[in-house]
């Protein structure tokens, strides 16, 4: 059962990473335009400019 000492923290950290990623996507407003984002990946015009905000 010693393996639990590693496995539990690992599962919690992985879960935490997932949550952190979700919070990041929400904070950077990535759910504002789901429709548009699904189309933008089809565009071959790449946005090379640095993000302004």
């Amino acid at each position: 059962m010693d393996v639990l000492v590693y496995l539990i923290p690992i599962s919690l950290i992985l879960g935490g990473l997932g949550l952190a990623a979700f919070v990041w996507t929400l904070k950077t407003r990535q759910y504002d335009d789901p429709e548009g984002d699904s189309r933008r990946i089809l565009s071959d015009e790449y946005d090379d400019k640095p993000k302004s905000d």
Binding site: G15, L26, D33, E35, G36, R40, S43
Partner: protein, 728 residues
């Protein structure tokens, strides 16, 4: 989870004409640096790239970003750049664009509530999965120290997450308790809190059962229901706000020799404004100079334009047809007729607020029942076990958790989301939360005529009666005017292959008509009195060639899909009626064309509402479909109401549903969908009840385990969501 994006179709394609009709044409400078444009026709990746490229290339534009979900572009521009000019330029380049009033939309810019709910939902979801992971180990047999460790880890995850994620329920429940009421959130909050508290106690006592996963999944599923519900309503709200924002409220104020575009809110009594032909009168006032004809159909339902000369009164909301006017303001903003009529609505609104939705009715039975049941379980087991508080409390909490309305919380939102999404794709915007339920109960449909069953654009009726030569003269004259009758005549002549005769000295006489010289004689097209003719009973224009006078009669053209909608409604067994403020001759003819047997003409605005109330008093449930200000009170008084997007804002505000496209055809399907949606909601309540009928005895007998609770909860929630999906 259902993500039935109500915006996934391309309703704007069908909605575009209506949106264009209400869009303001003026492009005065906008003070702010962030400009908003509505792009009703965009639908693909190429559109996004194209619009962003053209906008960025325009002078003064710093950055442009298209939002396809909202069909909108946000532009960061230098001060002094006008949204109107950007929109015009974009339209010229092939992308239909309209200026949006940023102030009207300010509230929707940052969708705080939505993101807040999503954050809580996400946190609850992640916590639920982690705790479930640990719980699986316990269910599959972990014991003693391992089980306690797992329970403690679960507790450290669950407690803070519940404190954060379940806040909306706690807040609502507290609000209800303070007002001495019970709502659905009270048993929810109680179940969540008791489950968490009991589990912490059990863990501390090395107990076998902890309900952390149940408390978290309860929070998660219920938040999902809340989020769906919120998103459906906010999609409708932002679309409705966008309709309002398209009408940028500005007026051309004349001060001395200078003219300036100013917001209508800045106008004061005594100001003079110029109203150009084709524009809507922004204020109540008296005509100072200019002669014209006024279309008052939105206010009164009359389809005939009325002549107006200096000294005549005009009201906000009327449309100036032929000549440019200057109007001295007698009442602006809140005092104008438009606003006063809108106030009528407030009175009628209360009837609708009294409506209790199915969810409320369910909660009213459910909440006390659950509390009594848990109390009964506690007291019963106290008696059976001879005072074992821990056992009795455990069973009471298990009862509360297992009966908790996961499925009930999803039953309504899952269905309304699916139904609203389906209707939105057909160009209908559901504004009110209870609209679908009320719509499903309707048995009588009352239509308004002008602007609802008809498009408000006239059609020549008797073109075949005239000699080709006369038609050529008429066409030549008609082309010289912007009057709707003249335009309709010109268009009809063109369709009939009539070439305009060559005339000279063509000029328009505001308020009267058009005149010219043809083959040396005076020819006139215009009002009866001006050409020296007897006025006909219906809408008509008169052509004078020398001594002869010819009468072109017009009928209002039927709106797209009106006849289909009426016959579809009649086929479904609805009693369809027509209630109009217009003259009998026009009404009887139109009723026949639309296939409506019961009609009434010349009804005043107040009487319309009274007629609706009389019908309601007979025990009927009335659906009112109307667009004019004269319909507003009737719309508010009716059990449910629908208005087209071309209606005035005050009218759209009181209606439950706004028809975005130009066609009435989806109406029949809408009522069928509403009935189906209500049936699904009831089925969902049935599923939830059936599940409770099995779960409650098990819980009361003390056999409920955390695993059973988790299975039952997820099972019923999934059943309910799948049942709702059948609507799409």
């Amino acid at each position: 989870m259902s993500t039935s994006a109500p915006t996934s179709a391309c309703p704007a394609c069908s909605a575009a004409p209506a949106a264009g009709a209400v869009a303001g044409k003026d492009g005065a400078p906008n003070g702010g640096e962030q400009l908003l444009l509505s792009l009703p026709a965009i639908h693909c990746a190429a559109c996004i790239a194209g619009v962003e490229r053209s906008l960025s290339a325009m002078p003064g534009v710093r950055r442009a970003r298209v939002n396809l979900t909202l069909k909108r572009a946000t532009v960061d521009a230098d001060p002094g750049v006008a949204a109107g000019t950007l929109a015009e330029e974009l339209t010229r380049q092939g992308w239909e664009a309209h200026e949006l009033d940023a102030a009207t939309l300010a509230g929707t810019q940052v969708d705080r509530t939505g993101r807040d709910l999503l954050m809580r939902l996400g946190v609850a979801g992640f916590a639920m999965m982690n705790v479930m992971l640990l719980s699986v180990a316990v269910w599959s047999g972990a014991a003693d120290a391992t089980r306690d460790l797992f329970h403690w880890i679960s507790a450290t995850i669950a407690i803070p997450v519940i404190a954060f994620s379940a806040q909306p329920f706690f807040r609502n429940a507290w609000g209800a308790l303070k007002a001495a009421r019970l709502n659905m959130d009270v048993p929810i909050s109680l179940a969540i809190l008791l489950a968490a508290g009991m589990s912490v106690y059990e863990t501390a006592q090395s107990g076998a059962h902890a309900y952390f996963d149940a408390a978290l999944s309860l929070t998660f599923f219920l938040l999902a229901g809340r989020f769906l519900d919120y998103r459906t309503r906010s999609a409708a709200r932002s679309a409705a706000q966008e309709l309002s924002a398209l009408e940028v409220p500005r007026a051309l104020r004349v001060s001395g020799a200078a003219e300036a575009m100013v917001p209508v809110a800045e106008l004061a009594v005594g100001d003079v404004v110029r109203v150009l032909p084709g524009a809507r009168v922004p204020v109540d006032g008296v005509i100072e100079t200019g002669e014209t004809e006024i279309d008052r159909s939105l206010l009164t339902g009359e389809s005939l334009p009325v002549g107006a000369a200096p000294g005549a009164e005009v009201n906000a909301g009327e449309v100036n047809l032929t000549g440019a006017l200057t109007v001295r303001v007698t009442a602006a903003g809140e005092d104008s007729t438009l606003h006063r009529l809108a106030d009528l609505v407030a009175v009628a609104e209360t009837t609708r607020n009294r409506y209790t939705s199915l969810a409320d009715r369910a909660a009213r039975i459910y909440a006390p029942a659950v509390h009594l049941l848990a109390l009964f379980a506690f007291l019963g087991w106290m008696w059976i076990s001879g005072g074992d508080v821990r056992l009795a409390l455990n069973i009471a909490v298990a009862t509360l958790i297992i009966t908790c309305p996961c499925a009930l919380g999803l039953a309504v939102p899952a269905v309304t989301t699916a139904a609203s999404g389906r209707l939105f794709k057909r160009g209908l915007l559901i504004k009110s939360a209870t609209a679908l339920e009320r719509l499903a109960e309707v048995d009588t449909v009352v239509f308004d005529k002008t602007g609802t069953l008809t498009t408000g654009t006239p059609e020549v009726e008797n073109l075949g009666d005239f000699a080709r030569r006369d038609l050529e003269v008429a066409a030549a004259l008609a082309e010289g005017s912007a009057h709707p009758l003249a335009q309709a005549l010109a268009a009809a002549a063109k369709d009939g292959g009539v070439k305009p005769a060559s005339v000279s000295e063509l000029r328009e006489v505001p308020g009267h008509g058009v005149q010219a010289t043809w083959q040396g004689q005076l020819v006139r097209l215009g009002r009866a009195s001006w050409v020296g003719a007897e006025a006909a009973e219906q809408t008509a224009t008169y052509l004078q060639i020398g001594g002869r006078v010819l009468t072109f009669r017009f009928t209002d053209s039927l709106r797209d899909g009106a006849a289909e909608a009426v016959s579809a409604l009649q086929a479904q067994g609805y009693d369809v009626r027509l209630l109009s403020g217009d003259a009998p001759a026009a009404v009887v003819e139109l009723a026949a064309r639309a296939g409506i047997g019961t009609w009434e003409a010349g009804v005043l605005p107040q009487d319309k509402a009274a007629r609706i109330e009389a019908l309601m008093a007979e025990g009927r449930r009335v659906l009112m479909v109307g667009d004019g200000l004269n319909d507003t009170a009737a719309l508010a008084a009716a059990h449910a109401s629908i208005s087209p997007a071309s209606a005035l804002e005050a009218t759209r505000v009181v209606s439950d549903i706004v028809l975005l496209g130009g066609s009435l055809a989806p109406l029949g399907d809408t009522l069928a969908t509403a009935r189906r949606a209500t049936r699904r909601i009831k089925e969902n309540f049935g599923i939830a009840a059936a599940y409770n009928a099995v779960a409650i005895p098990v819980a009361l007998m003390g056999f409920a385990t955390p695993l059973a609770a988790a299975l039952a909860m997820s099972g019923s929630s999934i059943c309910v969501s799948l049942n709702a999906m059948r609507l799409r």
